[in-house]
Every structure is written in structure tokens, then in C-alpha cells.
Amino acid sequence: MYDAAPFAAAAPRRLTVGVADGTGTGGWDWRASVAARVGTVAGAWEGTGVRARVAAPRRTPGRPRIRALRRGLVPLALVVLAVALLGCDAPMSTSEIEGSWNKEVWKPYWVIIWLAGIVFVAIMAATIVLSLMYRERPGREARQIHGNTKFEVVWTIIPVVIVLVMMVPTLDSLFKLDEEPPADALKVEVIGHQWWFEFRYPELDIVTANELHIPEGRVVDYALRSVDVIHSFWVPQLAGKVDMVPGRDNRMAFSALNARPEPYLGQCVEFCGTSHANMRFRVFVHTAEDFERWAREQAAPRVSSVSRTAEEAFLAAPCLGCHTVRGTNAAGIAGPNLTHVGSRTTIGSGMLENTPAELRRWIANSSAVKPGSKMPPMAQSAGGTLTDEQIDVIIGYLQSLK
């Protein structure tokens, strides 16, 4: 669990070293805490079989280098290293390159980070050095210089050159990102609702919500729309964001590089009202065969093995006003399509795990879980019309919709 107190006392420099060494030997509690946390993260990912996630050589400098820095007392550099270790491993880190778009982003990004780093170090050093060198001292007279044209020209040219160096890769990758997707790209419509994502596959006849499934390596051509306010579609590890603006048809195209069992995390990133923070989604990247199988299952009407009495109970409840279950007369469109809701891992746009207990919380009174939720409370105890028994039956029904 998250333990705030020990971190409070952390000094950035020692912290970094502790993390870099990965040993957390002695002294502060926080070192053990951080090391343990890094270990947990690493362990968790090893368990999932994800490739080379923690130990990517680019981000983990060798030990002798760290020691040199420790001796060299460059605290700023250590803070930057802390980012590399604490920031880059985050599940939503933008610096994890897992999609073709993000790969393109990092081409100019690296150039710019290097330039920014050089300018940063140069200006900080100049500020500190000049401040220390020219402190007032007995006998020192300030030199009355008004300016120097040669210098002005030089330091006009320096930023011009820096800007030019930034522009070239920027424009290159900007136009590459906007290239037309290939004709065989998988078409997906992403539709923003307050506060959930709807995903439609027009060619495959699939409608789902909050969990996007795509095949590895194939370009997906996204059409981004919104039915209410402006939202934004963002899966940091795969791609940058593009807004979903009502009245507009925004497009973006990219492929996911690697299939993996763990989902990539996405989130709405344009402020869209009360539950903006809770508008999350997941992206599952499958191998081509796995994706085919998933698509076949999803394209079918609701599974035939459901209990007919449970279905009747569901259809008698208010649910069908907003939700669709294909193959029944539930055809509402205000809420997520529930035809295969049992196959999803989460509910409430990624807020809750898809378990009977969480479904109960959600159905009983969704806005207690997710502020502003447009789904009215269903349980009688919360002002709705359904008894606990009725909700139980509906939960069973929904869980069976694989």
C-alpha cells in the first residue's frame, strides 16, 4: 500500500541513489519502501511476461556511472534519473513506446529533450556562476558596459539554430503522423459520452464500451466523435491524444506494437465535467488469431445459453431504456451496449472490476461510485424501483452475457 509518511523526509539525491542501486541498504525507511515498490512493480510485470519492461538498457544506466554522479554531486542530474526510474515505469507513462504513434512522437522528443537539457544546464550554470563570481567585494568596481552588438548577434543565432534543429524532426514526424492509413486498416469509431467511451467496429458489426480490443501490428483507423461535450482519446503508451469534438469527425491512425495480456490504460484527457477523472478505458492488444476469435464472439448476438427467466427479469427492469442487448428488444442507446458485458474485465468505464459485488454497487446506486453518473439509482434503498432479489437476478444475467 501507499505509505506517504516515509517519503516526506526523502531528499531527492539520496532517494535516487537508493533507487538506482536498487538495494535500499540501511538508514531510511523510505529507501526500503521505494526499493520494495520498484521490486513489486518489476515482479508484477515479470509475472505477466512483458518484454524487457523494467530493465530496458536505455533507461537504466550502469552502476559505475551512478557512483560517479554521486561523487560528482550533480543533484539535478540525479533528479532527472529519478524520473527515468519512477516516471517511466508508470502504467500510463508516455515514455513507454508501445505504439507506432508514440514511436513517431519520440523521434523529435529525444532531440528536444537533449536540447532542453543542454539549455537548462547552460543557463542554470551561467546564472549560478555569474552570481557567485561577481558578488560585491571590497575594491570591486562594476564595469559600465552598455552592450555588445557581437554578443547580441551570437545569442540571437544560438536560439535560432536550436529552434531550427527542433523544427526539422518535428515537421517530419508531424506529417508522418497525419499520413493516410493503409486501405486494410481496421476501422474503429470511438464515441465519447459523459463519462464513458463507446467503441464501434463498423466492418465487424461490433459495439462495445470502455474496453477496446485491437490486433497487434495492424494499423487501426480511428474515427473520433462525441455525442455531448469535448472529450479526448488518449492511450499514453500507444499514442498521443486527439480530441473528440461534437460536430467533428477527427481521425487518427496507429498500430500497437506488441500483443500482451495486460491492457494498456487510456483516459479522457479533456475536462468534460463531473466525472472527467473517472472516464477511463482499457486497450487489449491481441495477436491476429486471438483478435479474430474475440471479434467472432462479439459480433454474435447475445449468447444463447442465458437463462430465459433472468432475461425476462432484465427486460422488465428499466435497463432497456438506455442499454442494448442484441437479440432482445433492449435497444437503448444512451448507455453502453451490454450484449457481451460479461466478457469485459471492468464496469463503470474502468472504475470497478466486473464482479457480482461491484456490479451490485453499480446497479444499486451508480452515482455513489461515480459522481454525476447519468444512470439513475436502481435499488429501492437508493430511491430506485428494484428489490435486492431482482438486482441479484439481473447481475446473474449480465454476468452470463459473455
Partner: protein, 597 residues
């Protein structure tokens, strides 16, 4: 407040009524400064609440809608009610003194600007008692439209900003005319102090940037109150039109916030380095270049809205080019230190820290000028870090440099240097603790404007770190308040020019008399007091002639009450607006006929 303010300006008149009716630019400057600083503390309190909520994952201190109101009001308060008026406080107090004048061009208009500001600020702030706006300071449509924001919050936003815009417009017109027309003999444009130049530049920016905002606000008002559909896509409107209008205003506004601080720093650095500003023309012209370029970069706030490749490329290039004049400024400030004999007063600490922290904000700004990079930065904490390095590391650092620098001029007293050091170092450490980790959070994928985040995203550590930093800032501000209140109670000891500074405001007593200068200076060089000192030129002789000063007037506050009621009427009942209109018209009538001789 009255007693503090009273000490500040050494008035010949005293009492509340004398403050209400004052048209003295120094007193109006004090009113702006004290109000602005109070709102700064208030806005900071809102930020502390947000940081407290975000300290740990799944925080439960503040619920969602209240959090939206907090970040909206924090931004509006800091931008319109704190930084702008604190800047205005310095313009009001210092510009006439720095150009060797006895007042601004329109003293009563000056008072009207202040009271209208107070009216607009009250409308905006008192919204907390009804429903505070919660759509962000950028207030994107269609979230701001009736179907999605039915309460009165957005109306408070519209009316508050319209009122504040009117106030800023009047102040900007006044200062543009003052700087063009009231300079002392010999003070050519290229002899004006950089702070005066920057004030002139932002006056022009305000004059040109406020009308688009006004139009956008009026269109939003019509959408909400009269059923038009300017920004509603389902009825044919265009939500992106609002974004274009808002950022056409919004980007110049960013420079409106930062340029005064750049001006202040350009005064403080030479004074304490004991040498002239390096490359004065370059600093002035790069300031102008920044202002001009600010008109052709607004769409970089909209890189992710689905604009075509070519517009994004053009706006990216324009935005990067702004890095050039900004870089020139930074280099010239550094060169001002070179070869100096630097006296490290607290003001100088803030000025030098400004160079460092502002540069960080500048660098990150150029980073997301690249649209591909911006597609990962936009609406994440990286942008929060960037804008706070510009506005806190830039504007606020500059303003504190100004406070420590000009405090003796304004009050005749010194702020304690010892407490000043504590204030500086805690603020500097606190702000870097708060805002630097936000870069990491942004790269780690934390979106802006979220009231909660899940455990397991690895955002907890740096959020806690940033929250601790924000409390360090709060402690540093408490130290400043102690310093301030201790100092205003001391006996005045400051002579006319305690820092041995070069500009004209130091050529009169501290604090200055009501008429500013006993005799008007003739300016012979860019740093007039140093030139006169080095060439053995005595201060101008006092001729003992009658100096006419404009009499106090209560019409400005009367008109401001009328304008405020006009706005309040739009929020409540049209009869209130009608009453406001009548009061304002009566005030203008009385104003026009009031003798000023």
C-alpha cells in the same frame, strides 16, 4: 487594511472617505497591490485545498464538482484578480514616477478602473456563495452551455470577466496615453526604463486582446440566456470557435502576465549589479517581438483538436520562434550580471531566481511547441508544471522582486532582509518542490483537472512531494506577511535613493509627496540619476510655483457601482441592471461637469 494602506502612501488626507475618493495614482496603486495580494493569498488557499486532495491516490477531502470549482476559481483568481492587479499596482504607483510625471493622464479614469476591478472581482469571488463556475478558466463550449452546465456558475464567469475586462481596458487606455504623452522633458522612448516599456507593450496587448474575449463572452451569454447556438454543434454552431476566440485573447494574456515581471527584473538586475542593463535595445525590441508574435501562436493550445497538418506546422514554427526573443532577454539579463559588483539583497535574490525558474518554464514551453510532443503533453501535468514555472517562477518571482525593491520607495521603510532571506529560500525551494515533480507526473501520464486518481499508477509519490512543497510555499508566505506587518509599523528611515538606483522614481522622497516631484527632471540619458551623479548635475531646482493636483472625486466609485449593478442585474433581475445603468449614466454626467481645476 486602511491603516496599512495609510502607512503606505503617507497621505495628506486621511480616513476611509479619502481613499474612496482618491484619484492619486500612488494610492490607487496601493489599493491595487493590497487587493491583488489578498486575492493571491485566497487563490493560494484554493490551491492548497486541491493539493491536499491530490496528496494521496483516491483522496476523499474534496468531491468532484467542488474540485472543478476550485481549479476554475484558482486560475481565474490568480490570473485576473492577483497577478494582473499586482502588476497594475506597480504600473499605477511607478509609471508616473518613472517617466517623471505628476500623475497619470486620466486620474479619475484610473480610480474608475480600480473600483470596476473590485466590482468584477466581487462578482467572481462571491459566486462561491451561490455556485462557483466549474468549467475551467478556459471554459470550453459546449460544456459551458446550458444543457451541460445548468447552474449559475458559468453566468458568474461571463459577467465577472466582462466587468474585469472593462476595468482592464480602461486601465490599459490610461497607461498607453500616459506613457505616450506624459514623459518628462528629454525622456525619449528609447530612454524609458524597461518596466515602462513593458507596461506600454502590455497596455497595447490588452487593448487589442480584450475585445475578442468580450465578443466570445457575449456570444456565450447569448447562447445561455437567449437561445442562440454559436457553440452548439447539434444546432450548427462550432465549439472550436470558442477555443479560437478564447485563445486569441488567451495567448496575449499570458504575455500580459509575464511582461511586467520581465520589466521589474530588468530594473532590479542593473541596480544591484551596479551597471546598466546589458543590451537595452535588444531587451526592449525582444519584448515587442514577443508581444507581436503572441498574436500568431494561439492555435498551439489547440494542437489536439483535429486541425490539419499545415496549420499545426505553421503554428508550431511560430511558437518556436517566440523562443528566440525570449532567449535574447535571458542572455542579456545574464550579461547584466557579468562584470558587475552584485549586491545580493532579497530583491536581487528574487530577480536572479526569476531568470532560472522562468527559463525552466520557457524551455518546457518550447518543448510542447512541437505538435507530436504536445500530443503527449497536452492536458497533462507537464503543462501544469510549465505554466506554473512561467506564472509562479516568472510572474510571482518578478512581483516579489518588485515588492522588496520598491517597498522603501512606497513606504519609506525597509522590509527585513533576514526575514526576506527566509521568505526567499522557502519560497524558492517550495515552488520547485511543488512544480518540478509535475513534469514527471506529466510524463508518467497524469491528466490535468482530475480530482482523483487510482492507486497503482505510480503517481502517488510525486503528488505527495508536490503537496508538501505547496505547504512550504504557504509557510514562506506567512513569513512574508510577518515581515510586511512588522515593517509598516517601524519608523520610516529610507532616504530618497537607498539602493543607489538609476531611474527617476528614486529622484524624489520616499515615500513621494502627493505631487510626486517638487520639480520636474530633465532627462539626459537612459539611466538619468546615474548620469546626473557621474556628471555632477544637481537635481532640478524647486521654483516654488503652484503645483496643481486634481481634486478627489466620488464619481469614479459611483460609476463603478453602476457598472457592477449592470452585471449583477444580468445574474438576477433586469431591474437591477436598469438601476445600474441609471447610476452609471448619472455618474458620467456628474464626472463630465465636475471641475478639475
Amino acid at each position: 487594511m486602511a491603516t496599512v494602506a495609510g502607512t503606505l502612501a503617507q497621505p495628506t488626507h486621511t480616513g476611509v472617505w479619502s481613499w474612496i475618493t482618491t484619484v492619486d495614482h500612488k494610492r490607487i496603486g496601493v489599493l491595487y497591490g493590497v487587493s491583488g495580494f489578498s486575492f493571491f493569498l485566497w487563490g493560494g488557499l484554493l490551491a492548497l485545498l486541491m493539493r491536499t486532495q491530490l496528496a494521496v491516490p483516491n483522496g476523499t477531502v474534496i468531491e468532484s464538482d467542488r474540485f472543478s470549482q476550485l481549479f476554475t476559481m484558482h486560475a481565474l483568481t490568480m490570473i485576473f484578480l492577483a497577478i494582473m492587479p499586482m502588476g497594475a499596482g506597480f504600473f499605477n504607483y511607478m509609471i508616473p514616477l518613472m517617466i517623471g510625471a505628476r500623475d497619470v493622464a486620466f486620474p479619475r479614469l484610473n480610480a474608475l478602473s480600480y473600483w470596476t476591478f473590485l466590482g468584477g472581482a466581487s462578482i467572481l469571488s462571491l459566486s462561491f456563495f451561490f455556485e462557483a463556475p466549474g468549467g475551467g478558466w478556459f471554459n470550453y463550449a459546449p460544456l459551458s452551455e446550458r444543457p451541460y452546465s445548468d447552474g449559475s456558475g458559468i453566468d458568474f464567469y461571463v459577467v465577472g470577466l466582462l466587468t474585469l475586462g472593462l476595468s482592464s481596458l480602461m486601465a490599459a487606455l490610461n497607461f498607453a496615453v500616459t506613457i505616450i504623452n506624459l514623459r518628462a522633458p528629454g525622456m525619449t522612448m528609447m530612454r524609458m526604463p524597461v518596466f515602462v516599456w513593458m507596461t506600454f507593450v502590455i497596455s497595447v496587448l490588452l487593448i487589442l486582446a480584450l475585445p475578442p474575449l468580450t465578443v466570445g463572452l457575449i456570444q456565450l451569454l447569448f447562447d445561455r440566456q437567449f437561445g442562440t447556438h454559436f457553440f452548439i454543434a447539434t444546432e450548427g454552431g462550432d465549439p472550436l470557435l470558442w477555443q479560437h476566440i478564447f485563445w486569441v485573447f488567451g495567448h496575449p494574456e499570458v504575455y500580459i502576465l509575464i511582461l511586467p515581471a520581465m520589466g521589474i527584473v530588468s530594473e532590479v538586475l542593473p541596480t544591484f549589479s551596479r551597471k546598466p542593463l546589458f543590451g537595452y535595445p535588444a531587451v526592449v525590441f525582444s519584448g515587442i517581438a514577443i508581444a507581436v508574435l503572441s498574436w500568431v501562436v494561439w492555435s498551439h493550445h489547440m494542437f489536439t483538436t483535429g486541425m490539419g497538418s499545415v496549420p499545426r506546422a505553421v503554428f508550431a514554427v511560430n511558437t518556436m520562434i517566440i523562443g528566440v526573443p525570449t532567449g535574447i532577454k535571458v542572455f542579456n539579463w545574464l550579461a547584466t550580471l557579468y562584470g558587475g559588483s552584485i549586491r545580493f539583497t532579497t530583491a536581487m535574490y528574487f530577480a536572479v531566481a526569476f531568470i532560472a525558474t522562468f527559463t525552466i518554464g520557457g524551455i518546457s514551453g518550447v518543448m510542447h511547441a512541437s505538435p507530436p510532443v504536445d500530443s503527449q503533453h497536452q492536458d497533462t501535468y507537464f503543462v501544469v508544471a510549465h505554466l506554473h514555472y512561467v506564472l509562479f517562477g516568472g510572474a510571482i518571482m518578478g512581483i516579489f522582486a518588485g515588492i522588496y525593491y520598491w517597498f522603501p520607495k512606497m513606504t519609506g521603510r525597509f522590509l527585513s532582509e533576514a526575514l526576506g532571506r527566509w521568505h526567499f529560500w522557502l519560497l524558492f525551494i517550495g515552488m520547485n518542490m511543488t512544480f518540478f515533480p509535475m513534469h514527471f507526473l506529466g510524463i508518467a501520464g497524469m491528466p490535468r483537472r482530475i480530482y482523483t486518481y487510482d492507486d497503482g499508477l505510480d503517481w502517488g509519490f510525486w503528488n505527495m512531494f508536490a503537496t508538501i512543497g505547496s505547504y512550504v510555499i504557504a509557510v514562506s508566505l506567512l513569513i512574508f506577511l510577518v515581515n510586511f506587518f512588522r515593517s509598516v509599523r517601524q519608523e520610516p528611515t529610507a532616504e530618497a535613493n537607498p539602493w543607489n538606483a538609476p531611474t527617476l522614481e528614486w529622484g524624489t522622497s520616499s515615500p513621494p509627496p502627493e505631487h510626486d516631484f517638487d520639480a520636474i527632471y530633465t532627462v539626459r540619458a537612459r539611466d538619468p540619476l546615474w548620469y546626473d551623479r557621474d556628471h555632477g548635475i544637481a537635481p532640478p531646482e524647486v521654483t516654488g510655483e503652484h503645483i496643481h493636483m486634481p481634486p478627489p472625486s466620488y464619481y469614479p466609485i459611483l460609476i463603478a457601482i453602476g457598472i457592477t449593478l449592470l452585471g449583477v442585474g444580468a445574474l438576477s433581475h433586469l431591474a437591477v441592471s436598469a438601476l445600474g445603468g441609471v447610476i452609471a449614466y448619472y455618474g458620467v454626467w456628474g464626472w463630465a461637469l465636475e471641475p478639475t481645476d
